[in-house]
């Protein structure tokens, strides 16, 4: 009791101090400036838009959101950044695509802001963000190359992130007497059982489009448990690992799984179709970003509410350890922005502890990158509601094994897009070994 009282007193003391310090911070420094914030159309954006008026009242900075749907957003972002346009000040981006833009100087380094007490509110607490995410956004750029170092520059602040998980419809699997699979080959067997019992159900959905986003969800996560890496070695010895024996074994199993489990439309399926299948009950299982399952579980959100459960990503046969790739939606400053100070103010507000908890308990920013959110009782109570099934516990299980499974390097998009194309060819019937060899040659040529 006494301990609790002390803890409460300490907490209260910290909060009071923080509030005092926060009030001391000059939030009105950039009053009257208007900035444009570009982002993917996403509940993560909703989470911020809902409180924009509060930011404008606090700072006097006007924020104009410019939002585009996923694929379109990436195309437009590339054009905006590469052309040196000053239109966008703050941009939403991810770690992997930023490996291709930071060498060209398109993002503003953020250490300068983070370490300046006149620019960063004392209660911001950057260290509260999960270490793996902070580390993933830290590197240096030298001679158009990514130098992965913990002491490097910081290029963006994680806003929310995604872990790759297996999601399944409990009603469908229960009805058909199918256990959630643990390995890739178990999954193929389960798919056969589902198709035999109810041919109207698509057993499994994963993305298949010719874009790196298809690889960064299911394939890279499962491949890692087979011992596959996109690249091996470092520096001058960097080489692709996609034609290794492990990779051949993984791809043979994965291709068989797609051919057995996925819908005919797989090659054109993006997250829209994957999520749609799960929420409508046309699909029994999906492996993708976990928040899709969460959002569809929200009461009244869809007929799937309360029917989607979560499991760690699939593994190689006989392998107990799973791996889950992460994607971190993050905020960065366009290096051509003429309002970098105001842009940073907006970023620190949008990624603050308070905004993360609010977004999470609003049911939007469900994968907060901040430790404090996951320890916050309001969020724990919300996320543990029955309709979310085992979301909270699975998140914690998977988080321990979640990491960025791609190798930081310039040329990420070219290599991983080529992998997505090769995957389509293999599923289409091309010999796995030969096609992987061609893919590896293609990547090696680019490395030279």
């Amino acid at each position: 009791m006494k301990k609790h009282a002390v803890a409460l007193a300490l907490t209260a003391g910290v909060l009071t101090t923080s509030n005092v310090l926060a009030e001391d911070f000059d939030w009105r420094k950039y009053e009257g400036i208007e900035i444009t914030w570009a982002y993917d159309i996403h509940p993560y954006a909703d989470a911020v838009v809902a409180y924009l008026n509060e930011f404008e009242e606090l700072t006097g900075i006007k924020v104009k959101p410019e939002l585009y749907p996923d694929d379109t957003y990436w195309g437009k972002l590339n054009i905006q950044l590469s052309s040196g346009s000053t239109d966008w000040d703050v941009v939403g981006t991810g770690i992997q695509p930023s490996w291709d833009v930071t060498p060209a100087g398109q993002l503003t380094p953020l250490k300068e802001f983070l370490e300046d007490p006149s620019m960063t509110s004392p209660d911001y607490d950057y260290e509260d963000i999960f270490p793996a995410l902070r580390r993933a956004w830290t590197w240096n750029v030298e001679e158009e190359k990514i130098i992965d170092t913990p002491d490097g520059e910081i290029w963006a602040i994680p806003h929310a992130f995604e872990t790759v998980q297996l999601m399944y419809r409990t009603d469908i699997l229960d009805r058909l007497g199918v256990e959630p699979p643990r390995t890739l080959t178990d999954l193929t067997t389960a798919c056969k059982q589902i198709t035999k019992s109810d041919p109207s159900i698509t057993p499994m959905a994963v993305r298949g489009v010719r874009f790196w986003s298809s690889i960064h969800t299911a394939p890279i996560s499962i491949a890692r448990s087979y011992g596959v890496s996109d690249f091996v070695g470092s520096g001058e010895d960097l080489d692709t690992g996609l034609d290794s024996a492990d990779s051949i074994r993984f791809h043979k199993d994965y291709v068989e799984m797609i051919q057995t489990c996925a819908p005919d439309s797989w090659a054109n399926d993006n997250w829209y179709q994957v999520v749609d299948g799960l929420s409508s009950g046309k699909t029994a299982m999906a492996m993708d970003a976990n928040m899709f399952g969460f959002w569809n579980n929200i009461k009244g959100a869809s007929d799937a509410s309360g029917k989607i459960a979560f499991a760690p990503p699939l593994t190689a046969p006989g392998e107990a350890e799973f791996a889950s790739n992460i994607f971190a939606w993050s905020l960065a400053i366009n290096s051509a922005s003429e309002n970098k100070g105001a842009a940073w103010y907006f970023m620190q507000w949008a990624t603050s502890k308070e905004m993360n908890v609010r977004g999470a308990t609003d049911g939007k920013l469900v994968n907060s990158p901040r430790t404090s959110t996951w320890e916050n009782p309001a969020w724990i109570d919300y996320a543990k509601q029955p309709e979310f099934n085992n979301f909270y516990d699975t998140f914690n299980t998977v988080l321990a094994k979640s990491s960025l499974l791609f190798t930081p390097r310039y040329g990420f998009g070219t290599a991983i897009n080529a992998w997505a194309v090769a995957m389509q060819d293999m599923v289409g019937g091309e010999d796995v070994e030969e096609r992987l060899s061609e893919l590896a040659d293609e990547i090696r040529e680019e490395l030279e």
Partner: protein, 284 residues
């Protein structure tokens, strides 16, 4: 006689089949726009359902988007409809002003490099829009035309102007030159011949051609995507309705219906002219 009736019956059945195939997606989208998400996702598909106007209310911000579970992002679909109307109508008018004299000149005058020039103009239609849009984006940024009606109307000439020039050339060639010579003999000057003789004869064809290029402009996506922010046209705004956290199909369906209303209305009103525009000049 019997064979004739049988042929007629088979042809009618084929026509019905074609009408069904072509009209079904439109009917289905219209039905979806009045459905709730559960009815859209229902399997097998439902054809009888409790209709709702909620999707249209969200689309035009009449309903509180939050209350309809569509997120907090404001949709404001009325604005892109106005944008598309201004840009498409503006582009067609500018193309008529520039394209009719150009088409007339190509039809009536002989000058060096005429065919090369005509082919060059048509060449704009061959170039993939994405090939030209990025340099245009950079150019517009510098001269301040990015995200402006003027810039969009100008750049839409890539789509509308070649069609107007070529169609107009074909229409003018269809008009006997003797009519113009007769007017000249009566003392009419070249501008008078153009305005009082040629244009009235071209009117039907030009209305049809304008409708045709209006439809091309209305449905263009790539230029609007890259070159606008606030002045977003309808096809880009439609894509912006895809929000991963919500069941977006009902509201997207309502958006599709709205985006179809303007072109379908124009086609119904100008069907006769459109038909004439497509066939004008086809017979020599």
């Amino acid at each position: 006689m019997l064979q004739g009736k049988l042929t007629s019956l088979v042809l009618n059945i084929l026509i019905l089949a074609v009408v069904f195939v072509m009209a079904f997606p439109i009917v289905w989208i219209v039905m979806n726009s009045f459905k709730e998400a559960a009815d859209i996702n229902a399997y097998p598909p439902v054809f009888v359902f409790d209709s709702t106007l909620e999707n249209y209310k969200v689309l035009f911000d009449i309903a509180d988007a939050e209350a309809t579970n569509y997120g907090t992002l404001k949709v404001e679909f009325f604005k892109p409809v106005i944008n598309s109307l201004v840009i498409s109508v503006g582009a067609v008018l500018l193309s008529l002003v520039a394209g009719v004299p150009a088409g007339y000149a190509l039809a009536r005058y002989n000058f060096r490099g005429k065919e090369d020039l005509a082919f060059f103009v048509l060449g704009f239609r061959f170039a993939p829009v994405l090939l030209v849009v990025i340099p245009i984006f950079q150019f517009f940024q510098v001269i301040g035309l990015y995200d402006s009606y003027l810039g969009m109307i100008w750049v839409y000439q890539l789509i509308t102007l070649p069609m107007i020039i070529w169609l107009c050339r074909s229409y003018v060639e269809d008009i006997p030159v003797e009519i113009e010579e007769a007017a000249a003999i009566c003392g009419a000057k070249r501008p008078q011949i153009m305005l009082q003789v040629v244009l009235p004869l071209l009117r039907t064809g030009l209305v049809g051609a304008s409708l045709l290029v209006f439809l091309l402009a209305w449905h263009n996506f790539a230029l609007g995507l890259i070159l606008t922010a606030d002045k977003t046209p309808v096809p880009v705004a439609l894509l912006k309705l895809l929000n991963p956290g919500i069941s977006f199909y009902p509201v997207v369906s309502a958006g599709l219906v709205i985006s179809m209303i303007v072109p379908i209305g124009l086609i119904i009103l100008g069907q006769r002219h459109l038909e004439r525009g497509l066939t004008f000049g086809a017979l020599k």
